[in-house]
């Protein structure tokens, strides 16, 4: 196991989420789940981050923001779609201003379903993302 799997720094972006998934992401950082045990840190900075956690669906307002953040992240990077909205657009999928899931804009590596997504599911998704991260690191070399 490489060092990427031991120190994944997460960037959390709230697309157009109802905050349900955001609260669960923050819950994962709190004492009960304490994801810092695995070296996971919540950075607010795309240049420092390895894992891009997105909650909420993509709409015409945030599409540029998501693309911008994704492009600012250094390689290797992994995108995790957290919650039903980020995976597929959920019940906002048919809205006039909604494009659907995050994979409509940027490549998504791991999908974590749920409404709201459970903290256990988020941790599991990030851990699965680490595999993809190591894989990408190998491909760069």
């Amino acid at each position: 196991m490489g060092y990427f799997a031991k120190s994944p720094w997460v960037l959390h972006y709230d697309g157009s989420s109802c905050n349900g998934c955001d609260i669960e992401v923050l819950a994962a950082l709190m004492p009960k789940y304490d994801i810092e045990r695995f070296g996971i840190i919540n950075t607010g900075n795309p240049k420092h981050a390895d894992v891009f956690l997105i909650t909420g669906s993509v709409n015409t307002q945030n599409i540029d923001v998501i693309k911008n953040i994704y492009n600012q992240m250094g390689e290797p990077k992994v995108v995790v779609a957290v919650g039903a909205c980020a995976c597929t657009g959920h019940f906002f999928a048919e809205c006039y201003n909604t494009l659907g899931g995050v994979d409509k804009v940027i490549p998504v590596d791991v999908y974590a379903p749920g409404c709201a997504c459970r903290p256990e599911a988020i941790i599991d998704a990030v851990v699965q993302g680490l595999g993809a991260l190591e894989e990408k690191k190998k491909n760069i070399k």
Binding site: E36, G39, G44, K47, Q72
Partner: protein, 287 residues
């Protein structure tokens, strides 16, 4: 240069980052325990740095990498001068130059967050450096030498002459470590309003070098605090460890303050405890 000083310099070059990273790891564990969490393993800072070296270095200015490298070089030089037993004042100056290069590295990126961070780092240096410069002067007055080995060999520990200088140096030590309540230039967590300020535009290897520089700097500052105990190294180690533990404690119970208060309090303490102590020492020596 004696063989002893060369050995000590080599030991510093190898052990300082290891010890610095270990201190950072212990720091994170104690912080986590204070917050009711388990915390990462002690080796976590090393994992972070090794990972950062594997990441892509996104550089927005062609001088950026040079500035970051110069910062490391001058900070290491400061430590080498110190452990080589040369002039203490020169070591302090070299460390300040290292700090200036980090500010330049942040300025050259032109990012708003980095600019605010760089300006605040300059203010932090303005607050902390007068006391750090006064400390060697105090050590000279107490022991009659700027030479690190001669100060370290002092039979009568300089701290008995310089209690005020020591306390004031501990105060500005918090500013140099960029710990709360003085984490103005690099917000302690990346998701806060300043987005790490000084290091916002540092990606991958640049950030790794910045971390290593910080480890060297921490060891240098701790060594300077240790020097106040002269040849009483046993008490020196115990009290230096206690000082660092209290820094972690202070870090966890304080919110960030405004720069005005930082500057006023740091200079106030420097003038009252630092300069005051030196004045008293001067008159005692005259009598």
């Amino acid at each position: 240069m004696s063989a002893f000083s060369i050995v000590l310099i080599i030991l510093f070059l190898i052990l300082a980052p290891i010890l610095g990273g270990f201190i950072a790891g212990v720091d994170r564990i104690i912080t986590a325990r204070m917050q009711g969490r388990v915390g990462p393993p002690v080796r976590q800072p090393f994992y972070d740095v090794l990972k950062l070296f594997g990441k892509e270095n996104l550089v927005v200015n062609r001088f950026h990498v040079d500035y970051v490298a110069c910062s490391l070089i001058f900070t290491v030089l400061a430590g080498a001068i110190f452990f080589g037993g040369a002039n203490l004042l020169l070591a302090v100056f070299a460390m300040i130059v290292g700090g200036v290069f980090i500010v330049l590295a942040a300025y050259c990126t032109n990012s708003p967050y980095a600019l605010i961070g760089a300006e605040r780092e300059l203010l932090q240096m303005l607050a902390a450096e007068p006391m750090i410069l006064l400390a060697p002067v105090g050590l000279y007055m107490a022991t009659g030498s700027f030479n690190v080995y001669e100060i370290a060999a002092a039979q009568h520990a300089p701290i008995f002459h310089l209690p005020g200088v020591y306390i004031a140096l501990c105060y500005v030590f918090t500013i140099k470590l960029r710990k709360s309540p003085f984490d103005l230039s690099t917000s302690h967590h990346g998701h806060q309003e300043l987005v790490k300020g000084l290091t916002t535009e540092f990606a991958g290897p640049s950030l790794a070098v910045f971390e290593i520089t910080h480890w060297y700097e921490t060891i240098f500052m701790l060594a300077m605090l240790f020097l106040f105990f002269g040849s009483h190294w046993f008490w020196g180690i115990i009290i230096t460890v206690l000082v660092y533990l209290s820094e972690i404690f202070i870090d966890n119970i304080n919110a960030r303050i405004k720069w005005e208060l930082m500057l006023a309090s740091a200079w106030g303490i420097t003038i009252i405890l630092g300069v005051g102590n030196l004045l008293v020492l001067f008159f005692i020596n005259k009598l």
